[in-house]
Symmetry: T
Subunit: 159 residues, 12 copies
């Protein structure tokens, strides 16, 4: 495949930025699909709160997907966010089929957020030298996902 | 799996509505992922027009996905919009990897829209008696997708 | 009483459209009053979610009341939405007096929605031949009320 | 019925505030239903002006209904705004069935507003000592209804 | 002339949809021009109400014109909305030249709406089997025009 | 009084621009007070239309007052819009005290608009050479007031 | 002059409410004209702050003028806000002609606000028994004018 | 036909203003219909740009139509914007039937704009003495149409 | 300290208004800090509802703080809302450190609201004669806080 | 250089319009850069007022730059707004480097506005016959700049 | 106290992030209370500018307080923003009681901003390795506070 | 020149931040002027896309100019964005005079963006230690400009 978009990064920097961004695109698309799936299938006494909070998560995941994919294009790398690629490469832990109890949904979302955040933290380290512009995007994504991770955990927590 | 949501439809009506809606959910999620993929990977002199038009298609596909999935829940059927399900069951024709010429993207979108519309037309016939409420949603989806189908075709047409 | 507004419907079509619309007006006004009553009198740990969701139901019921009443006028039939008429003719199952536990409120709303939807489904069948324009309105009302019926049921459901 | 909401008012103050607010809720719901009934059934050369002005009255009546009912809950009293209660207890003078001439509608609305305002003035006096917070709400309602009373009268007046 | 836009309809379905849509485009453009003409030329004591209501009718007619014309393109048929075509083919009954009394304007609008609605009702029947997607658009247009027909009639009616 | 603001106009141009603008300020303030007076005191079957149209006239008069006064300051002339000055210098024909029949109000407004427009036309001629920038403002005021003059006349006209 | 608008107030209450409201209308119109005059004629290093703050005062004075005048109509009294009446009856202290230094403008505004507030305080006392609905409007006007009085004074103060 | 609306223009001035405005109304309605026709029938690789730009032209043409027609009423002349009049009197050069290539559409629009502008320039000269208020409207229309003329030409130009 | 802002109140009235307003400022700032503290530290199954409702309380407390403090300045009294003053003088009952269970948070908020409302009721009595303008503000604050008191209690209540 | 855009102006008219517009583009870009420079570098007790007012001037200068440049293109003349051209050809008087006292900034802005207005007045005269459409734009620019000239002068003036 | 929220940070990283965030929360709450105190108590010729600028500072301080507190929760640390904690731990330098001259207020704000910024710069250094996500928030806060520090200083500066 | 604004940076840090920010201000102003020049002078079949995209680039360049210049002031350095300075110091590669073909415009924009980004990357490295707050701004500018660089390149690319 040709490389029609040029970048100021050297090839190794470009490789690191490209791979970490591609992995982020895949994780975030999967996160958005998991959150939508949960949005539709949740039942239980906290249905309304959880149903609404899931749509906020969908919006966050979609917006950062676009940011990561367009950052990849900006460094000259073609992103791949097709269904097959997501199904194959996602680092999220997924969600079961069918109707789900609200407490189980919260567990599922906390687990998926934790998995995606953990991988993102590694990419923050990996891009610090390779491309601080890309790292700055990862910092923004991590900040928002860690905030949501707290909010979802808080629904399960007791003191 | 339990069936926690009841419906006024009889079991056969519910089965028909449920299956046609589930298939629509899958087709539309795939269409939204294909359009986003194209949105990022298109190059060529019509980049800007195509890039913007693809995001309009993404919005349409996402909104109708939600409408179809929540119609499924309304008739007591759990929808499945997970990445693996989409990758396996979609009736869209997909999109190749990597950067794509704008004219090829237009061909790809026209082809995917045609495939999705054709299946939707069958579901309009199938639900006419089974559930006119569900049929009415399919009519709305078809109206919008056929409008977009014209607009994408028009970019290729000559007279 | 004179009939100052003319219609393209023949007398029998007009009678069917008029009666089904009048019954819908009454059911929906009652539904809006029941939901407001619940909105004020609900107590319990899910107070806030239920309180807010009830106002969404009020808005839906009021908007469709207006649509149904103005569809009646459009086919030349005077609608009657006065308190006495509603108290006498409503097909909703009503709500008890005084403060109500949130879980009881959810049961009450699910029951009222189910009763109203069931009657609406009959009117969809009755108007298919008599007046498809009126039927199309009933399809829209049913689509929205069945969506709400799922959302309220989901708060009670377990899997 | 239990009294789950506490108040800083003493029992007699609470009784006065509660009764005047309950009566106001009932009058205002009836006023909103009468205005909607008129909104649909008015005919005559001033149809459009009257039709639009009635919807403004509906909005006013609905908003103050909510304010009065939630003021009742705030002083620990469960409000009752069900159709049967409204049909039985309203102090408004009502509206006839069927299509109505625009000049008759204006008469009807002026009469209903006058009746509701007169009762409200008594409640302003009754709550001055019992609960000035509740009185302040009645002052606001009276101010708006008396403004509308002028506007509706002005359509009938000659000089 | 070439046919650059394809459709899922068979030729006969396409013919029926195309002809009914073309006729609708012409009727609605004429209706918008008639309403604008009336908007400028009305005089009389109800000038302001009629002047404003006519612009609402213009907006409705323009929006549905676009919807019908783009539905024609969506089924592969080129719509024709040129002045000469409208002048020649419109099914509306038109409006006289020069200043017009407000009561005459109301009569004129009621008559034009009745003519357009009657033709639309025939197209609803004609497209039921040929193309339910197109029929659904006609149902929406009829619902709105019949509502306006009531409102304009109501200005002339007495009881 | 000192002249703290300078202008590119020569003294004679400045005198002409200043006097015509000052006269316009006074006429327009009076017009806004007359229209508000009418807005409050109108009665009759067209109360609502006239009441609303008068507030549109108030807004127009106020906005152009500000434009004319600030144009005066821009050419170095202090404008005077005090109540006493308006009472003494206005070229409008005024309005009687007390409640007024709607038809009389319309006559009064048509007369005041005609008087103000006539004076404005003279100022358009006077400023053509003296200051085309000021003339351009007068053209804009005349265009809007003449439009309103038609609309108010149209309420009285018969054909 | 006839009295076409009725009121629930007895004649003496109506007289008190009417006179206090009429006086308030006149004071507030004059205040709005004084503030506009100042808005145009202020010069000095604080021009921009003072110029902007004066327009906020104009808006406040205009809005409360309308509220007071329409409260007069609501109690059946015709308000008089004509230029001659304002010039003759206003209790404001006025403003000099021509360009004014910003510090002098502030003094002028503080003085006018103080005069208007003082008269308003008397009307609050006068209407307490006569008409608490009218008094409540005077309380709102006083609250806002006293806030502005502080803000204008603060520009002159030293500590 | 009677002349129910008076004007400050003398008969000859009124004749000139009336005729130039009537001609402008007709040209602009035709321009709006031509642009809509093009909006629906354009095909080719620049479909989306041209399709969107045409709707901007429609909006411009419609807004100025209304301005010109209401300027005619303001000078006492009844405007005529009916389909037959437009078909007969328009100075635009029109558009062919059926689907049109995007480059042909651009040619067509440039030609129509040029024709309409040329006629408008003559009306600017004709109204300079007769009615500068009307001329000022023509200047505004010419300014906008000449801007659009550049933009449409620019799509065809090479350097 | 000097007293740079004058008031129409006599010294004793000013003292009463000033003290009650200062105490209100302190209570409301503390209420806003308590609600923010709770907003951050709440955990439990109702996290989302409570978290959101607390921010509404913060907004209410902040807005009324500003209103009370600026009412103090309007009567010539310098308000004191510094952290040390709040910590020393607040009449609220406070909140414990660290993470808090949602049910405990609700108890805490109900208790703080009750304490603040009780003190406010005393100030309503104290200012009735001293300054009805200030009393009117306290009535508005009490109305809103008592509404919130019901809503928070309702989350704990059972029937 | 080729002339790809045609105009209805004859060559001499086009030359005059083109030269006056080009000079205006250059003056206004320089004015916008001078105002931004002042916006950043102003210090002194009126910092905030001056800083904000400068951004309003920037917006005015930018908007009119675009209007003048696009008017040049509309008459077939290529505008030149490049930094080097502005630095070479501007008729503004410029601004010194480094931090500037607020009173000096006001002097500088008044001087630059006066210089630009003076040149604009000459262009108004020059284009009266050559192109009244272009002249109309210059009138609008002059009106706004002269208003700003007053406002900036007013900050320096004493009476 | 239990630690119900988990984090991907190791204990030492968590300790550093938690302490720096807690200190930031306290500083920013105090800054918001100081700015509000100044907002109410400022007098002098620049009252309006300073009064408005202080509310912008309040908004900035409140928004970053929330961001810092919710970042603390996101890393598993309970923030403490209670009045007593702020009074005890704040690193801001505070503000005196009573009315304050505008120039003194500016000095006070510059001093408080400088103190808070200085501490923030240390936290930027401390978190670079411990948690770059938290550091990124401190960079954003510093950027905005340093901008405000310039703006407040600029009001005191001379050149 | 005096240095009226202080900073927490030491002199060497301040020098680095100041120089990199000044250079950025100059580059971005030039970029905005180049993009505006292109916006006006582009011709060709992609006129509309390019014309609109250039205005987005202008907005980006202007917003970041302001951010960089105000960051310079925040660290105590006076920025210089005057036309002469831009003409002399800009690192952009510029644009030719006169009408330009759309494809040439795209080349020109890609080249200018590449030149500006390259210099920005060096400043990111230079400020990492000197001032991470300034670096964070450069990261944000680079992220956006590199995104635009991709979008403009994409219009030229083939695969």
């Amino acid at each position: 495949m040709s490389q029609p978009i040029t970048s100021t990064l050297d090839p190794e920097q470009q490789r690191i930025a490209g791979e970490t961004l591609q992995d982020t695109v895949v994780d975030l698309i999967d996160l958005s699909l998991i959150a939508k799936q949960a949005h539709w299938n949740v039942v239980g006494s906290n249905f309304r709160s959880v149903h609404l909070a899931l749509d906020e998560l969908v919006t966050v995941a979609r917006d950062f997907t676009d940011a990561a994919a367009e950052r990849a294009t900006a460094v000259g790398i073609s992103p791949d966010g097709r269904a097959g690629t997501v199904a194959k490469d996602s680092g999220a832990i997924g969600i079961g089929a069918g109707w789900q109890q609200d407490t189980d949904i919260i567990d599922t979302i906390v687990g998926n957020l934790a998995a995606v955040i953990k991988r993102l933290r590694e990419r923050i380290a990996a891009t610090e030298k390779a491309d601080p512009v890309t790292q700055d995007l990862f910092l923004a994504i991590a900040a928002r996902l860690e905030q949501l991770h707290w909010m979802w955990q808080a629904q399960l927590a007791t003191v």
